[in-house]
């Protein structure tokens, strides 16, 4: 498959990635491209390795083989200083939030600010409160500790922390699971606003068909240990792969597709 060549290196380029644990191979010879400024939705069945791929790109899981480039730089050969600079350019929302349990929400959001920047405490408080507002948390959540938050609030607080440094790429692992549909729609809205205004690149693992249709520029589907379909929603809908077909043309998929058509026609 040939793609139009970009002058700028893609935000993320994965080639021939193999990841396994012990005997078990999770990802085998996987290729993936994430262009700058796009929102990519990443789908796949439970336990197929979406989180593992995210962790491999972030350098948290050592791949058996393959190349991973972020902004054109091979992470495995990057010197420590530059690696740290790279880490500053991404924000991550882990599937289970991974908030620091000993810090409250405000302090959690300020951790990366404190680490990388030289700001006054009052400005850090203000910016953290702004992030809290942006992700749709009530102001009184700032003082709460992770164990005092609801599941959806944990997701939002973790997103606020991921956005703390206004990163260039954000990795979101199932951001809208556990949110009510209204909250999920607001979340999609926020992502698309940030994409338009900041040129944010988003890698979003999701099962939410609404998010896929409304904010994702492109979608990639993971099955049989590799990316079996990649492209715009229309491309994906035309994919012949059986898992992709049952995902998007199953009961729920059909209903969503019909809704989309109705929306376009009206």
């Amino acid at each position: 498959m040939t793609r139009p060549s970009h002058i700028e290196a893609p935000a993320i380029r994965v080639r021939g990635l193999c990841v396994g644990f012990g005997e078990k191979i999770i990802l085998d010879n996987l290729d993936l491209d994430l262009r700058r400024g796009e929102v990519m939705g990443f789908v796949g069945g439970s336990g197929t390795g979406k989180s593992v791929l995210t962790r491999a790109i972030l350098g948290l899981v050592r791949p058996r083989d393959g190349l991973i480039e972020v902004f054109g730089e091979d992470l495995s050969t990057l010197p420590r200083e530059q690696y740290r600079a790279m880490e500053r350019r991404w924000g991550v929302l882990f599937q289970h939030g991974a908030l620091f349990s000993g810090l409250n929400v405000l302090q959690n959001i300020q951790v990366p600010m404190r680490e990388y920047l030289n700001l006054s405490q009052s400005l850090m408080d203000e910016l953290a409160m702004l992030k809290i507002r942006m992700v749709g948390l009530p102001p009184d959540a700032a003082e709460k500790y992770p164990s005092q938050l609801s599941g959806g609030m944990i997701k939002r607080a973790a997103l606020a922390r991921a956005l703390a440094l206004d990163p260039e790429i954000v990795f979101l692992d199932e951001p809208t699971s556990g949110l009510d549909p209204i909250g999920a729609a607001e979340f999609d809205q926020l992502i698309s606003t940030l994409q338009k205004t900041l040129g944010l690149t988003v890698f979003m693992v999701t099962h939410d068909l609404d998010s896929l249709y409304s904010v994702c520029d492109r979608v990639a589907a993971l099955a049989d240990r590799k990316v079996v379909a990649e492209g715009t929603m229309e491309d994906i809908l035309r994919s012949p792969h059986p898992w992709v077909r049952s995902y998007f043309h199953g009961e729920r998929g059909r209903r969503r597709e019909a809704a989309q058509r109705a929306g376009e026609h009206s």
């Binding site: 920047l117 700001l119 203000e126 702004l130 606003t193 338009k196 205004t197 900041l198």
Partner: protein, 377 residues
């Protein structure tokens, strides 16, 4: 590298025009903050201010927030500050990061005297509560142990055996080693001191009585408190943190039955066994040193030892072991189950479990010493 955030000002007929340039992003950190301050200072005194954002290279939410904050501050001091025509994406961002006064709830400082009194009161109430809950917990555990004996089918034998393995079998090498070394040290010191009086052979009496009655059981209990007590607290605490205890409850399983009692029974079995092994290693250490350093041959050592100690000397140590086990197990389990949601709290509970159980082990040992002295055992 990006250009630093800056601006130029130009006085026009009606208003002061501030043209922002450079990258107004959070990467500039302190420079961004001071640029916003300068923006505000520049605007003061003018009748009207127009922010021109079209020459900005890059902007993010932090930059937008700071610019909007300056605009808001100018507005509030009676200056008509607004934005000139901005690119649509900037307008969107300014909308998203719009300034709203932030109220962080800071508690007002209390009177020092009052807060000290309040602290003392809280500590006392806390101590009383923990005493009360300790007694209640002991009751629950004993009831659960009795249930285990009356309904042997529900007894978790496998779990007990597995815990005996980790507490006793895996702990044996280090506990034997420590007691061996202490036996050596006691022997060396007593021979050295008693030689001055020509009574070196009395060192054997000292080694026998001291290790069997006190040292072996005390050292073993302290080691078990540090090794197994902390493990119990950490296990139960992290299960509590991850709602695993709640999961057991809603399945109709009592965490005391499933988690606490098998561990306490395993400790009750392990500690006497370990104490016995500790006795043996300490005496062996004493024997080696007495032989090599004091010149007391093993034959002499054993005949003196038989004269010096009786069954009661040995039993005094062994009787204490199960009580120590109960104290350690109870404290470890209680501290573990008192863990709150944070990793910090887990660390605190483990520390306090080890400190409290070592303290209580020594207190219990002291009480027993008084008791045995009183009954002349």
């Amino acid at each position: 590298m990006q250009t630093a955030p800056a601006f130029t000002s130009e006085r026009q007929a009606e208003a002061l025009q501030l043209t922002l340039t450079g990258a107004w992003t959070i990467e500039a950190s302190a420079a961004l903050e001071s640029a916003a301050q300068a923006l505000l200072a520049e605007g003061q005194g003018a009748r009207a201010v127009i922010f021109d954002l079209n020459s900005i290279e890059r902007i993010d939410t932090a930059g937008a927030w700071l610019i909007d904050r300056s605009r808001d501050a100018l507005n509030r001091s009676g200056i008509d500050a607004r934005y000139g025509a901005a690119r649509p994406e900037f307008a969107l961002l300014l909308e998203e990061a719009q300034f709203r006064p932030v109220t962080t709830s800071k508690q007002k400082p209390q009177n020092l005297f009052v807060s000290i009194l309040a602290d003392v009161g809280e500590t006392m109430v806390g101590a009383g509560r923990s005493m009360w809950s300790g007694v209640a917990f002991l009751g629950e555990v004993i009831a659960s142990i009795i249930r285990a004996f009356t309904h042997p089918a529900r007894f978790r034998g496998t779990s007990v055996v597995a815990h005996v393995e980790t507490f006793a079998f895996r702990g044996l090498p280090i506990i034997a080693l420590i007691n061996f070394l202490v036996g050596c040290i006691v022997a060396q010191q007593s021979i050295f001191q008693l030689q001055k009086f020509g009574a070196a052979t009395f060192a054997v009496d000292l080694i026998g009585i001291l290790t069997l009655r006190e040292l072996a059981v005390l050292l073993t209990s302290i080691m078990v408190a540090g090794r197994s007590g902390s493990a119990i607290t950490a296990e139960l605490g992290s299960m509590k943190m991850r709602e695993e205890i709640d999961a057991l409850r809603v399945m109709g399983l009592d965490p005391i039955d499933v988690l606490v009692v098998p561990r306490i029974i395993a400790l009750l079995i392990s500690l006497p066994l370990l104490t016995f092994m500790a006795d043996m290693s300490a005496i062996f250490g004493g024997l080696l040193v007495a032989w090599t350093y004091g010149g007391i041959s093993p034959d002499v050592f054993f005949s003196r030892l038989q004269d010096a100690i009786g069954m009661n000397t040995f039993l005094v140590g062994m009787i204490k072991a199960p009580f120590m086990a109960l104290v350690i197990g109870m404290i470890a389990a209680m501290e573990g189950l008192a863990t709150q949601g944070s990793a910090e709290s887990l660390g605190r509970q483990v520390t306090s479990s080890v400190v409290k159980s070592i303290f209580m082990v020594i207190v219990v040992d002291g009480v027993f010493a008084m008791f045995f002295a009183a009954i002349r055992y």
